[in-house]
Each structure stands twice: as C-alpha cells, then as structure tokens.
C-alpha cells in the first residue's frame, strides 16, 4: 500500500458516529471494486456505494478534513509511530480472524511490528491481583516465552504489568495494548525504550493518537487484547469490571479462555467464570482436565454463592439466539415467546444491540431482529 493513502485511512478510522463494522463494510466494498480508500474519498459519489444520508454527510465532512488528517499522519510518522491499516500485510492476522468486521481499521504501533505475526497469548486479570495471581501470571508468561509465544497484555497495574515484566524477564516478547492514544504514552515509551528498540516490545493502540486514558478506552481495549491472542489466560477476576466483562464476552464469542483455579476461600469470581465455560488452569497455567477436581473446589469455595445476574442473562442471550435462528421477530414477540417477564421492549432492544451477529430490519415503525446470514461473514474472511 502506498504511504500517501494513510491520510485517507486515518480519516476513515476517526470519522465519528459510524461504527467500525460499517467502516469495514466500506473497505470491503472498495476491495471488491479493486479501488483504494483514497479513490473512495476522492470520487464524486463515494464510488457509488449505497450510504445513508447521515453517513454521506459524515463522510463528506471527513473529506473536508483530509488535509488536517495529513498533518496528523505526518506528525505520527515523523515521531516513529507506524500506522497499519487492516488491509496491510503487517496487520495481525489473528486480530482480523477473531474480530472480523469489528476488527479495528488501523493499528498505531511503535516497536517490532513482526510481533503481530507471531503466535500470541493474552494474560488478563485484576489491577489488585493477589500473590497467587501474580505467580500464575509469571508462570504463564514464562511458559509462553519458552515456547516463543508473544505475551499480550494491557499495561494496567497488577496482572498486566506482571505479564509484561515476566515476559521480558524470561527473554520473551510482549505486545502492550494501550487504553489511550499512542502519543500520550511518553512515560511508558521511555521506561521500555531499550526493549522497544531491541524489538522485544511492541506498543499498540487502536484509539485516536491524542486520546488520553479513559475508562471507556480501557474497556474497549480488552477486546483488542483478546483479539490479538490465540489463547487467553485470566489470572484473577472480580464479578464485575474489565476482566469479568472481557472474559464473559470472550466466552460468548466462543474463545478459549483459561482461568486460574482459585484457592479455597479466595475472594474472586474465577470459579463463576469456569462454571460459565472457561477452562480451569492450575497455578502453572496447565489445563485441569478432571471435572471432579473443580467440583471439589466449588464446594469449598464460599464466595461464589449466588449465580450472578450476568450469568442468567447470558443464558437469555442464548435463548434469543436460538429463537432468532428460526426466523425474524420483533422485540415484543421475543418477550412473549421466551416469557421474559422482567424485560420491557426497550430493555430488550438494548440487550439485543449488545449481542453479536444480530441485525435489525426496519419494517414500518417496528424493528425486526434476525441473525446475520452466513454469507456475509464468509465474504468478510475472503476479502479482508
């Protein structure tokens, strides 16, 4: 890809109010026409793509700002950041395969981009991790490093930091996924300067390069950590927060997640996650195969008394998906058929919007929900 297209890529990426999925559809559309994103913006009518009026306006506004984006891109390149569009050979194939149409349009990186092509594991866990969790993290990082797998982590306190430092300690390699724009990470860049220039660390961000840290970005970043890895290891999770939502989301998407088997009386929600389908792992990070082993644990683990609300609703999700597999329904119909008495139609629509693979079809004033066809997702894998 030509360097001078980067402006267009960055501009598309940071066009507000259009979802990543839709932007990826634009990219696939261009790809199918053998056109570039530059052609898309420079053409009179966005290459004839069918766009909603609102989308047209947003993209036209972006077009006016292209020169401004050029300044931003020049600044980033001048400072040694790489900008990797989703169509680039350098883009992580694992991330693309895992997130499909939700894969970020561009990656901002500094360091050894080759790490994006290697086998990778993610280690996640609480900021206030206990010693067991940190030991587990160290063990997993050690094992991954010895197997020449890259350790992906999120540069938060606790487990994330341990994962990075352990990987480096065992002469491994690590990808740090930032909860902020890549230019706002000066102190970390300085701290890991040697590792970055030696090629053992890659710093990565998918957000606007100037964005400061925020809770929202930290949450959004989890998806990227999971997406970059072939396997996910959770050291310690509470029953809410980043690790929790990340693991449950991963499970929902059918990812393999290893969760550390908690100790007796340990205050954490690890066991709940294992019950929800995560694989149990021992302190070395090796899978525990015998079901009886954790049944025993479960009996002695007092914390995990009540099944959580998320667990329940997660099974609701499954019921909904099963239903939509059969056809198209409005939210009112779904409530009736599935006897979801605690849901209002409004609450259910919100719920539906969070479940992956569901599409909305507007018929008059009513929204009808159905599953996306397989054809669409196949096309994605082919073209991206």
């Amino acid at each position: 890809m030509m360097k001078n297209e980067l402006t267009y890529w960055v501009a598309l990426t940071h066009t507000p109010k259009i979802w990543t999925k839709r932007k990826n559809e634009i990219i696939v559309y261009c790809f199918n026409l053998s056109k570039t994103i530059a052609d898309f913006f420079e053409s009179e009518n966005f290459l004839g793509m069918e766009l909603k009026h609102e989308e047209q306006e947003l993209l036209s506004q972006t077009k006016k700002e292209l020169a401004n984006y050029a300044f931003l891109v020049e600044e980033l390149l001048n400072q040694g950041y790489s900008i990797i569009p989703i169509t680039s050979q350098e883009y992580s194939p694992t991330l693309k395969a895992n997130l499909k149409y939700n894969a970020p349009i561009i990656l901002y990186t500094k360091g050894n981009k080759q790490l994006l092509q290697e086998n990778a594991i993610a280690i996640v866990g609480s900021r206030n991790a206990n010693d067991k969790s940190l030991l587990f993290t160290d063990n997993v990082a050690k094992k991954a490093s010895s197997e020449r797998k890259v350790v992906v982590s999120g540069f938060a306190k606790g487990v994330d930091k341990q994962a990075l430092d352990s990987a480096l300690n065992y002469k491994g390699q690590s990808i740090v996924v930032l909860p902020q724009g890549i230019t706002t990470f000066a102190s970390g860049m300085k701290k890991y300067y040697k590792q970055i220039i030696e090629g053992t660390v890659l710093v990565l961000s998918v957000f606007h390069p100037k964005s400061p840290w925020s809770v929202d970005l930290a949450m959004a970043r989890n998806t990227i950590i999971y997406g970059l890895a072939d396997e996910i290891y959770a050291a310690q999770s509470d029953d809410k927060g980043g690790t929790w939502s990340g693991v449950t989301d991963g499970l929902k998407k059918g990812r393999t997640v290893f969760v550390r088997m908690p100790e007796r009386n340990e205050k954490c929600a690890n066991m709940t996650l294992i019950e929800m389908g995560a694989k149990a792992a021992d302190i070395e990070g090796n899978p525990i195969h015998k079901t009886t082993e954790y049944v025993l644990h479960e009996q002695s683990c007092q914390v995990v008394a009540e099944p959580t609300a998320s667990y329940q609703t997660n099974s609701v999700d499954k019921q909904i998906v099963d239903l939509l597999n059969k056809g198209e329904y409005s939210s009112k119909q779904i409530i009736e058929i599935l006897h979801l008495s605690d849901f209002s139609t409004q609450k259910l629509s919100q719920r539906l919007s969070k479940i992956d693979g569901i599409q909305i079809h507007k018929i008059g004033k009513t929204n009808k929900y159905s599953l996306k066809t397989k054809k669409q997702s196949e096309q994605l894998t082919l073209s991206l």
Binding site: L6, T7, A38, E74, E75, N78, T183, Y193, K194, I197
Partner: protein, 730 residues
C-alpha cells in the same frame, strides 16, 4: 476559484489554454527572480474558501510579502521565530477563526506542538512550498526541516492544490523535487537570463587587494548594494574597514539579534547605507527592486549559489553591477587561496564516521535531547546537528516530542549508517565548486556560462560582461593604501560579549522588560526586546511612566543583586586574522618563550581605546591549566604599564582540562564550574577589576570567574584578552 477562472489566469500568465487534470493539482514552477512567482499563489489564495499555507525559509520575505498583501487589504499573516510566542499564538487563533487568507510559515514550525494542534482544525485550501530547491540535497541550500514538508505534501489529499516554486534548479534538482513531491507534478520552466547585469571578475593576490579595491571604488558604483563575504567575522572586518574609509557600510550576520537584523533590513530598503556587508543570509527574498550592485569577496559554493545570490539585485531591469573577487595566489601546496574556504566547508560538511557511530551508540542507551547528545558524545553543536539530520534522514533515529522538549530516539530495525551517500554528495559538491572556479576562468560570456550550468540552453546573444564588451577591473595596491590598511588593523578591536541580561514580564501590561549592562557605565533597557534606552551611568527616568519606572527599578535591583557584574570586554585582535594568532601559538605550543612585546602594545592600545577613562583597582589573570607563566608574566607587564596593582591570589582549586579539549559549551561550562577561588576574599569587595587572559574562546572560564568575583562583592569586572577566536579556530 473555479477551474474556469483559474484557466483565464493561466492563459494570461503562462499563455497556456487549460490545465491538464493533474496540473490543476500539483505544479513546480521554475522562474527567475522578478518573474512574479508570488502572484501565482497569492491570487488564487484570495479566491479560495479556506486558508493558503506558504512554507518559506525566508523570514525577511515573509515580512515583506505580508506587509504588501495587507496593504492591498488581503488578510495575510506569518508565524516565525521573529515573533513572540504570544504573537504566533494569536496568529494561529486568527487562522483557526478564518480571519487569515494567506499564512506564511517557516518550515521549522512543523515541529511546534501548538501549530500541529492547530493544523487539525484549520480549513486548508492550498499549500505552497517557496524556494523549493531547499528540499533537495542536490540543491544549493538544503534544509533538513523541509524534509517534513515533503512528507506532509506526500500525505496531503490528492485534490488539494500544491505549488512549489524556485528561481534556480538544475535538471538534477528539478527531477529530485519532482520525485520527492510525487509523480503527479507538472513542471513549468522559464528563461533565466538577466541581461541588465554587468558581470565582472576581479582576480587578486591577497585579501588586502580586495579591501583596497573596495575602499577605492565602492563610492563610484551607482546606488546602493550588498557585499557578501564568506564568513561572519569578515562581515565585521570589511564593514569596519569601509567605515574607516568613510564609506557608509554596516555589517549584518546571523549573530545579530532579530531587532538589529530588522533594523538593518529596513535600512537597506530605505537606502540608508551605501552597502551592507553580509553573509549570504541577507537579501534572500528581500523585495527591493533597485539593489544596484552585489559584490562577493569570496566565491560561493557553486554557480547555482552565485546565480541565486546575484539574482537579488536589479529586479527593476536597470543596469546592475555584479562583481566577484577571487584570490588566485597559490599556497606552498599549489592550492589557490580562495579555493580553500569553500573546499573546507565541503570536506567538513560531515563529521567522521566514528562520530556518527558514537552518537548512535549513545542513542541506543537512552533517548537524548540535542544537548544530552552533545554531553554524551563531546561533539560540537554544529556537528551534532548534522549528525541528527542525517540519522533522521536515514531512518536510524526519529525526533520525538517528550513533554515540552524533543528527544532523539533510536529506531527498532534501523539500517546501518550509509556513509556512501555522504561521499557521493561530497564529490558532487566538489564538482559544483570546480564549476564555480570555471566561471572565474571562463572566456565565455559570463551570463551564458551561468545559464548553461542551470540547464537553461536558450540561443541568445549574451553580452554585458568583462569577457565581452566591458573592460576588466584591476586593483592598484599602493604603499599608501597598505599603510592605511595596517593602521586600520592596529585600531580595530573585537568585543568580548559576556555581560548578562535580566528579563521580567510586567503584569498585567504583559510588557517584557530587559536589563543589560554591557559596560561599566552603560545600562541598556529593552522593552519587548526592542532597545528602549541606552543610558550612561544613570537612567533618565523621564522616558518612563511612574509604574514603568517602579518596575524597571526593581528589575535593575534584582539584576545587580543576582547577575554577574562582568561587563563586555575587549580583545587586541581576532585569533585567525593578522599575525597575532601565530605569535600566540608560537609562545604557547612551540616553546617560543614569553608573548612578544607587540602583543602587549596592541593589547594596551585596545585597552586604552575602550577603557582609558575608567579607573581600576586591581588586575587579575586567569590561572593556567598547566604550569607555565605566560599569562602571569604578561599580566605583570600589563598591570605595571597601566599602573594598577596586580594580584596573584586568583587560583584554581581543582584540576581542569584545557578548554579546547571540549567541543561544546555545555562541557566547557562544566569543566570550569567551581574551579576557581580567591585567596583573600575580603579584598574583592567593592573593587573594579581587570581580568586578563590570552585567548578568549567560548567565554566560559571568564564568566565563571566573573561569577566568583561578583559573589565576593566586586563592583565591575572587565575582561581583556589578547585574541578572540572565531568559531573555534585554535
């Protein structure tokens, strides 16, 4: 502006009916000075909705153009280092608010965070790269800061019009620019001949002949003009010499502060001087139609440089005199004297490979600022800057913003340093220099020679030079003139600038006041960096408001309390000029014994001329690094001659290295920091002191001692040196 209107203009200016599609977007225009290149972007800029940003390396040009545009009612502004931070911020805000149509900006601004931030929101309509030859290393004035502009242009959307302009480009530079800006560029090339120029070459056999010819003839040349010398120190010497001969000349160089430069530039515009003696920095882009002569006392690096520099004269197409001096005296190796300086510039353009590797090694350890890198490598600032630019160019390092400062970072996966490209460039530049010497010796019409070098091969009948219809010029070096010259040299003394300044901004008026005490009986007060008043002994408060007086008084108090009481001193001579340097060298490094008496005579002369009316209490001298009493013996003689008691109590309390070992001022400062002491501190209080040294280089030692003596209560410290170096020539 729509395309139709633009094409009407195009037809008018270029005689071309319509744009090719790609032409509408990116154009390189090579047209001689005076063609009206700026109109080609100023006019469309007024027609566009948004703002036109013009990257220009020439601050003087920005100022002139903006003034001229504003006069026509076109909202134009500039952003550069001449304005205060506040002024630049205000300009940026106006640009963001759509109150500016044309914005001139120095390419270095691309490194400024505020500007970069603003570019995210500005409504841009067109980008212009002025003096586009500066983006090519093959061009005659390559600027690293322009590299970023090129990268920017590559990233700009294809539909945004980009115009690059230059007056001078060989085919090689042209294709380099075309390649760098990108494939879809159309080049328009015009004729370069300037037939109002009367071109002369004067071959001489000494520097003296040049000086004498100028003193004899300058006033006989019509109008006002410029004299270009090869070095900064020569701007001073030539200007002083001309003034000594009652010719109204002044020197101008990059060492002057912005206000002085502005003032001299205004003086040029108003024909206040017969001639300004300058390095080639002056005149580039100055919009003065009637510069009547340009004289070079040194050959430029290539015919392109020469064409560009003389191109600033005679834009009104009236007869203009162009003279080039060349000292063809050969040294014992058979090399012509005036060939040496430009050759040395080319050979020394790049530090040795070892120095590059040293810098790379330091950067592999940690990210470093320019200053940090100087400290880590003990290399000169000039060398570090070259190395920095090359490392960035080769992708080995990048300059990254770290908070408010910038640091250089080594890049993962960087290639090995490529020195072959340096060598190729050196060979190419030597070839250009030889072509410049070719101009001296050619029997062709001189304008034809230049045009051919610039790949402008028009079949014109060239004349108007001393190879065709004009008489050769020669020098008459008589005994009287030689005598005059040596008298001048013995009466001309360089200033040692060491006095400190104190600045403070007054709130709420936001006016910055600055105090400087350049000599024991003079106080300079600056208001917003403009000299507000220069007072002898006592400040005349009538010029100040009550509030201003209060503020400046307290500022003066704090200046006296906190800053060094050292004032500007004097040296007997420049080190490299005349026979002073070689005499010092013999005594210091060749066991030549005490400094010869003529140095004492010259130093006394310098002293009496400048400080003859002042009373002093004691003479001190800088204690030597190694054993040796050269300076001490000299000081004893000096003190007895001026009848001021000498003291030997200024001593070194720790070992220092010779200052010349250190290549940059940071390390020089550290070398002498807290290295001195005075054995009977109570003697210093309230004293007026002369501080003697043999050679004044960075001034770090003198300043350090000044600090010590100030702390002990000295009233004034006046430094006196035998010689002042010019850019580290020991």
């Amino acid at each position: 502006m729509n395309r139709e209107n633009a094409e009407i203009e195009l037809k008018r200016i270029f005689g071309i009916d319509h744009f090719y599609d790609e032409q509408w977007e990116r154009i390189l225009m090579i047209q001689r000075t005076g063609f009206g290149k700026s109109l080609c972007y100023q006019f469309p800029a007024t027609q566009f909705d948004g703002i036109t940003v013009i990257f220009s390396p020439l601050i003087a040009l920005m100022r002139d153009q903006v003034k001229a545009l504003n006069k026509k009612g076109i909202p134009a502004r500039y952003i550069n280092s001449e304005q205060t931070v506040e002024e630049n911020s205000a300009t940026i805000q106006d640009a963001l608010d759509g109150r500016v149509k044309i914005l001139y900006i120095a390419p270095e601004r691309q490194e400024n965070a505020e500007w970069i931030e603003a570019t995210r929101k500005m409504n841009l309509s067109m980008v212009v790269i002025d003096e586009a030859h500066t983006i090519s290393v093959w061009g005659h004035d390559f600027r690293p800061a322009f590299r970023r502009i090129i990268n920017l242009v590559k990233l700009l959307p294809q539909s945004l019009p980009v115009l690059a302009t230059t007056a001078t480009a060989t085919n090689r530079v042209q294709s380099d620019i075309e390649q760098q800006i990108g494939g879809r560029l159309t080049t328009i090339r015009g004729q370069l001949v300037r037939d109002n120029f009367r071109l002369y070459v004067i071959k001489v056999h000494s520097e003296d002949e040049k000086l004498v010819w100028l003193a004899q003839n300058l006033n006989h040349i019509n109008g006002t003009g410029l004299i270009y010398t090869g070095t900064r120190v020569n701007t001073e010497i030539y200007a002083k010499w001309l003034a000594y001969n009652n010719i109204n000349a002044i020197n101008y160089n990059a060492g002057h502060d912005a206000d002085t430069r502005k003032d001299i530039e205004n003086g040029l515009m108003q024909n206040r001087y017969k001639s300004i003696v300058s390095t080639n920095a002056l005149g580039m882009g100055i919009d003065k139609p009637d510069i009547r002569f340009i004289i070079h006392t040194q050959i430029p690096a290539s015919p392109i440089h020469y064409y560009q520099e003389i191109g600033r004269a005679g834009r009104d197409d009236k007869p203009t005199t162009i003279i080039l001096f060349y000292n063809e005296q050969r040294d014992k190796n058979g090399i012509e004297e005036d060939y040496k300086l430009p050759k040395a510039f080319i050979d020394g353009a790049r530090p040795s490979k070892e120095k590059y590797l040293k810098a790379i090694e330091a950067l592999k350890q940690e990210p470093l600022s320019e200053r940090g890198l100087m400290k880590a490598t003990n290399l000169k600032q000039t060398q570090i800057r070259v190395i920095k630019a090359d490392l960035i160019d080769q992708g080995i390092a990048k300059e990254v913003v770290d908070g408010k400062s910038k640091v250089l970072e080594y890049q993962f996966g960087a290639k090995e340093l490529d020195t072959q490209s340096f060598e190729n460039l050196r060979i190419a530049k030597l070839k250009d220099l030889d072509a410049m010497v070719g101009y001296i010796n050619t029997s062709q019409p001189r304008m034809q020679y230049l045009c051919e070098f610039l790949d402008d091969d028009n079949n014109i009948n060239y004349s108007n030079c001393d190879n065709t219809n004009l008489d050769k010029l020669t020098v008459a070096l008589t005994y009287e003139w030689q005598k005059k010259l040596s008298d001048f040299r013995e009466n001309y003394f360089p200033i040692l600038e060491v006095s400190e300044t104190t600045s403070k901004t007054h709130k709420p008026s936001n006016i910055k006041w600055t105090i400087n005490i350049p000599s024991e009986n003079k106080i300079d007060v600056y208001k917003n960096d403009q000299l507000f008043g220069s007072f002898s002994c006592v400040i005349n408060w009538n010029n100040f408001s009550v509030e201003e007086r209060e503020f400046v008084e307290s500022l003066l108090e704090s200046h006296l309390a906190r800053k060094s009481h050292i004032v500007n001193g004097i040296a007997a001579s420049y080190y490299g000029v005349s026979n002073v340097g070689s005499a010092l060298h013999r005594s210091k490094y060749e066991n030549g014994g005490d400094f010869p008496d003529f140095l004492l005579r010259l130093t006394l002369k310098a002293f009496f001329k400048t400080f003859g009316n002042s009373k002093f209490d004691m003479v001190l001298y800088v204690p030597p690094t190694h054993s040796g009493d050269l300076v001490k013996n000299f000081a004893v003689k000096f003190a007895s001659a001026i009848k001021v008691p000498i003291s030997h109590k200024l001593v070194k309390i720790r070992q220092t290295s010779e200052q010349k070992v250190f290549q940059n001022s940071y390390l020089k400062q550290e070398n002498v920091k807290d290295a001195f002491s005075y054995l009977s501190p109570e003697e210093i209080n309230g004293k007026k002191i002369i501080l003697l040294d043999d050679i004044f280089d960075s001034g770090a030692t003198i300043k350090e001692i000044g600090k010590l003596l100030t702390a002990l209560g000295a009233e004034t410290i006046v430094p006196i040196a035998i010689a002042k170096t010019v850019g580290g020539d020991i």
